[in-house]
C-alpha cells in the first residue's frame, strides 16, 4: 500500500457516468421540483428505476473502489441536485441499517426487490428523530412491545424528519427502519430497530415538511398506532443490555449507530457535490467575465474574489479528501467512527460557507431564482444538520480524541 490520490479507472468511469446523469437528467428539472415541493419528480424517479440504478451494470466490479466509488456517485449526483438524489428509489439509509445490523436472511428479504428488474419504484428509509428527540437518539419515546401470542412487535409513537419517508411508507415493497425502545428503563440498551414494510396497518403518513431546501426530498412525519411487525423484522437481538451497549457485542444500538459510520462519509460526499456545484458555477462565471484565478500571485496582489475562491477550493478539497479517507477506511475494514464524523463535520460546514459566499460574490444574480446558486445555498445547509449536526459530530470527534466515554462529555 502506498499513498495515492489517483482514482482507479473504474472510479473515473463511474464519475464520468454519474456526472453525465447529473447534467442531463437532474439539472434540467432541478428548479421545477424546487418550486413544486411535494410533487413526485416522476421523470427522475422513473429514469432511476428503469435505467439509472443499472448504470454501472456490466462494468468490472474490480475496477471500482467500493465506498470511494459510492462517494463519487453521491458527489456527482448531488452536484446535479441534492433533493432529487434523496428522492431516488433506493434502499438509502434503511438499506444501510439492514446492511450493518441485519442477518443474511434479512438482507435478502428486504433488499432483493431493489435489485430486481421491472416492478415499480420503491424506497427505503430510516426513522429515528422524534418531536422531542433528535440528536439525543437514546431519548426516543417510540415503544415496541412484544405480543407473545402472535410473536409480533407492536410499535407506538411518532417519527419526524424521515427522509424518503413518503415513498418508503406508501410504495409496496419498500420499508422504513424504525427505532424504538423495548425497555425505557434500559436507556440506550433498550433501543432496537425494526423493519416496517410499506403500507403495514398502523403506520400512517401524516405529511411532509416544508423546508428551506432539498425540496424535492420527501421529509415525512409517520405515526405508529399499534403497528404490528413480525418478530423476524427486528434487526439485531431482542436482548436488553443494561451495560453500555456500545461496549458490548450487541448489534442493536451499536449496529444502528454503526450505520452512521457508513452513511456520514456519503453525506459528506453529497455535501461536497452541492458545494462544488456552486464553486464550479462561480468560477465559470468569473471566467466569462475575464477574471482568472491566479494561483501563483503573491497574496497581497490577489483580489478579494481570488482570495475567496482559493480558500473555497482548499476548503472543498479538504472536505473531499477527509471524506475519501473515511470511505477508504470502510473499504479496508478499519474502524472509521472518528474519521466519518470528521469528514461530515468538515464537509457540512465547508459547503454551507462556500455556497453562502457564492451567493454573496454573485450579488443580485446569485440571489435570483433565475439561476440555481440560491438553491444550492439552501440545499447545502441541510448537510450541516442532518446525519448528526455539526455539534454532534464535533462531540463524537472530541470524545474520540480525548478518549472520553459519553458520560464525561455531553
Amino acid at each position: 500500500m502506498a499513498i495515492d490520490f489517483e482514482l482507479s479507472e473504474g472510479s473515473k468511469l463511474a464519475q464520468a457516468h454519474y456526472h453525465d446523469i447529473a447534467l442531463k437528467q437532474m439539472r434540467p428539472i432541478s428548479r421545477k421540483y424546487d418550486l413544486r415541493e411535494h410533487d413526485l419528480p416522476v421523470e427522475w424517479v422513473d429514469y432511476w428505476w428503469n435505467e439509472g440504478r443499472f448504470g454501472t451494470k456490466g462494468r468490472s466490479e474490480k475496477l471500482t473502489e467500493g465506498f470511494i466509488t459510492i462517494c463519487l456517485q453521491a458527489e456527482e449526483l448531488c452536484w446535479g441536485d441534492a433533493g432529487l438524489y434523496l428522492r431516488m428509489p433506493t434502499p438509502a439509509l434503511g438499506g444501510s441499517a439492514v446492511s450493518s445490523a441485519g442477518t443474511k436472511e434479512q438482507k435478502q428479504r428486504f433488499m432483493s426487490k431493489f435489485r430486481e428488474e421491472g416492478g415499480h419504484p420503491i424506497w427505503g428509509a430510516m426513522a429515528i428523530t422524534e418531536p422531542q428527540a433528535g440528536s439525543d437518539a437514546a431519548a426516543i419515546e417510540t415503544t415496541a412491545d412484544f405480543d407473545p401470542d402472535t410473536e409480533e412487535w407492536i410499535l407506538n409513537g411518532t417519527k419526524i424528519f424521515c427522509t424518503a419517508g413518503e415513498g418508503a411508507s406508501t410504495a409496496d415493497g419498500g420499508f422504513v427502519v424504525v427505532w424504538a425502545t423495548i425497555d425505557k428503563s434500559a436507556g440506550r440498551g433498550g433501543i432496537k430497530s425494526f423493519v416496517v414494510m410499506a403500507n403495514t396497518p398502523g403506520m400512517e403518513l401524516i405529511g411532509c415538511e416544508k423546508k428551506l431546501g432539498i425540496r424535492a426530498s420527501d421529509t415525512a412525519t409517520l405515526r405508529f398506532d399499534n403497528c404490528r411487525v413480525p418478530k423476524e423484522n427486528l434487526l439485531g437481538s431482542a436482548e436488553v443490555r443494561k451495560k453500555d451497549p456500545t461496549k458490548t457485542g450487541d448489534k442493536g444500538f451499536k449496529g444502528a449507530m454503526a450505520t452512521f459510520d457508513a452513511s456520514r462519509p456519503i453525506v459528506a460526499a453529497m455535501a461536497t457535490g452541492v458545494g462544488r456545484a456552486a464553486l464550479d458555477f462561480l468560477k465559470e462565471e468569473l471566467e466569462n467575465q475575464g477574471v482568472a484565478i491566479r494561483y501563483d500571485a503573491p497574496p497581497r496582489e490577489l483580489t478579494a474574489i481570488e482570495r475567496d475562491v482559493i480558500e473555497m477550493e482548499a476548503e472543498l478539497q479538504a472536505a473531499r479528501l477527509l471524506t475519501w479517507r473515511a470511505a477508504w477506511m470502510m473499504n479496508t475494514g478499519k474502524r472509521n467512527n472518528l474519521e466519518a464524523s470528521m469528514a461530515k463535520a468538515k464537509a457540512g460546514l465547508a459547503v454551507t460557507k462556500i455556497t453562502q459566499k457564492a451567493v454573496q460574490i454573485l450579488g443580485p444574480v446569485g440571489y435570483s431564482k433565475k439561476l440555481l446558486v440560491e438553491k444550492w445555498m439552501r440545499d447545502a445547509k441541510i448537510n450541516d444538520i442532518y446525519e448528526g449536526t455539526q455539534q454532534i459530530n464535533q462531540l463524537i470527534v472530541a470524545r474520540r480524541i480525548l478518549d472520553y466515554p459519553s458520560a464525561m462529555l455531553r
Binding site: 499513498i3 490520490f5 479517507r325 472530541a398
Partner: protein, 373 residues
C-alpha cells in the same frame, strides 16, 4: 487507487523520525528558541539518520530515493518536535536538491558529497526579500550577465545560516546584459545561482525574527557580487516555479507538524487542568475547539499529501501546492492560537510550548523555501 496508507518504508521512516523528534528534539525545543543556538548534538544525530542523504542522487553517494510524499512525512514529524530544529536538520536539502535537480556534473560532484559526509554541513537558499511587496516570482535581486560572469545585486532575508555552511543557492531575476540594467525588471525571469558564502561583496547580517529562534538566519546584501557564469544552475522559469512549489509543500508539511504539536499539548493540558472540579476538556467550549483543531489538521495534511503526490508523478502541482500552502497557513495559525487559548494565562507564559508554536506558525505567511521536498 485512492490510498491513505504510507508504504512500509515510509511507515518505518515516520516511526524513526517521530521517536527522534520526541526523544531528542522536543526536550531541547524551548531552550534552543531561548538561546538561539542550534543544539549541535541533536542536529548531528539527526544527520546520521540520513534523511536528506537518502534523497540525494546515487551517483554522488546518496540513496536516490527522492519522494515529495516521503519528504512531507519527514518534515511533519520533525516539525512536530520543533520547527526551527526541523529546518536546521533539513537545511542540507536547500543546497542539495537544487544542485541535484539542475546542477551539472561538476557542481554535483563538488557540492553533494560534502552534504553526505559524516559531519553535518548545512545548506542554504536565499529567496525571500525584505520588502512589504515581495513577490517570489519577481525578485528584485538581479543577476546581470557581464562577460563570463554574473553580477548579483540586491537584498535577501530569512536565509538559514547555520555554522559550517560553504555555499548557498540564490534565486534572482536574470537580465541579459549590463546595457539594459535600469530600474526594477518588469517581468520575472527567474534564475538560480550557486554562490560561495565568502564571495566578495556578500554581506550577512544576523536577523531576529518573531519565531524560529533556534534557526540562525541572516539578511544578505549582494553588493555587486561576481560569480562565474557556470554557477548559474540549468533551471528555467518553470523549473524554479516548481522549486517554489516544492518549498511550499515542504513548509506546509512542517506547518501541519507544528500545528499538530500545538494541538496535542493543549489536548493533554485540557485533560488535567480543572475548573469547578472537572477537567476543562469536559467542557464543550474547550472540547469542540480541540475537535475542530483535529479536523483541520487532518484536512490540511491530506491537501499536503495530494500536492506532494502530484509532484512525485511529475505533474504541474502549483495549484495544489497553493491550496495546501494557503490552507496550512490559515489553519496552523488558528490551531496554535487555539492552543494558547486552551492554556489560558499559562499559554502566554514561555514555560509552555503553545506561545512558541504561535510565534513559529505566524511566519508561514512570509516563509518560502525554508525547506524543500
Amino acid at each position: 487507487m485512492i490510498d491513505f496508507e504510507p508504504d512500509e518504508e515510509q511507515a518505518l521512516i515516520i516511526e524513526t523520525v517521530h521517536q527522534f523528534a520526541e526523544n531528542e528534539i522536543r526536550p531541547v525545543a524551548r531552550e534552543t528558541d531561548e538561546t538561539g543556538i542550534p543544539p549541535a548534538g541533536v542536529v548531528e544525530a539527526a544527520h546520521e539518520l540520513g534523511l536528506v542523504a537518502n534523497a540525494l542522487p546515487e551517483a554522488q553517494g546518496g540513496g536516490g530515493a527522492r519522494s515529495a510524499v516521503t519528504g512531507a512525512l519527514i518534515a511533519e514529524e520533525l516539525a512536530w518536535g520543533d520547527l526551527a530544529i526541523a529546518l536546521s536538520i533539513l537545511s542540507p536539502a536547500l543546497l542539495g536538491f537544487p544542485v541535484a535537480d539542475f546542477g551539472n556534473d561538476a557542481q554535483k560532484n563538488e557540492l553533494l558529497p560534502g552534504l553526505m559526509d559524516s559531519a553535518f554541513v548545512p545548506g542554504s537558499l536565499a529567496i525571500v526579500e525584505p520588502r512589504f511587496d515581495f513577490d517570489v516570482y519577481r525578485p528584485e535581486t538581479t543577476a546581470t550577465r557581464d562577460g563570463d560572469e554574473f553580477v548579483l545585486q540586491g537584498r535577501k532575508c530569512q536565509v538559514p545560516w547555520l555554522d559550517g555552511g560553504t555555499h548557498l543557492v540564490v534565486i534572482a531575476n536574470e537580465r541579459p546584459s549590463t546595457a539594459s540594467s535600469s530600474g526594477p525588471p518588469a517581468s520575472g525571469h527567474l534564475a538560480a545561482f550557486v554562490v560561495p558564502r565568502d564571495a566578495a561583496g556578500l554581506l550577512a547580517e544576523p536577523e531576529l525574527l518573531m519565531g524560529l529562534g533556534g534557526l540562525p538566519t541572516v539578511e544578505l546584501a549582494f553588493e555587486r557580487v561576481r560569480v562565474p557564469a557556470s554557477s548559474r544552475l540549468d533551471a528555467g522559469d518553470d523549473d524554479l516555479r516548481r522549486l517554489i512549489d516544492r518549498g511550499r509543500v515542504a513548509l506546509a508539511a512542517a506547518g501541519v507538524g507544528t500545528a499538530r504539536a500545538a494541538y496535542e499539548v493543549s489536548r493533554e493540558y485540557a485533560k488535567v487542568r480543572e475548573t469547578f472540579g472537572q477537567p476543562i476538556a469536559t467542557r464543550q467550549a474547550i472540547a469542540f475547539k480541540l475537535a475542530d483543531m483535529a479536523i483541520e489538521i487532518d484536512g490540511a495534511r491530506l491537501l499536503v499529501w495530494e500536492a506532494a503526490a502530484a509532484l512525485d508523478r511529475g505533474e504541474d502541482a502549483s495549484r495544489l501546492a497553493r491550496l495546501a500552502w494557503d490552507q496550512v497557513t490559515r489553519i496552523a495559525l488558528q490551531v496554535a492560537d487555539g492552543a494558547v487559548q486552551v492554556f489560558g494565562g499559562h499559554g502566554y507564559i514561555r514555560d509552555y510550548l503553545p506561545e512558541l508554536h504561535l510565534r513559529n506558525v505566524a511566519g508561514f505567511s512570509s516563509f518560502e523555501a525554508l525547506a524543500l521536498v
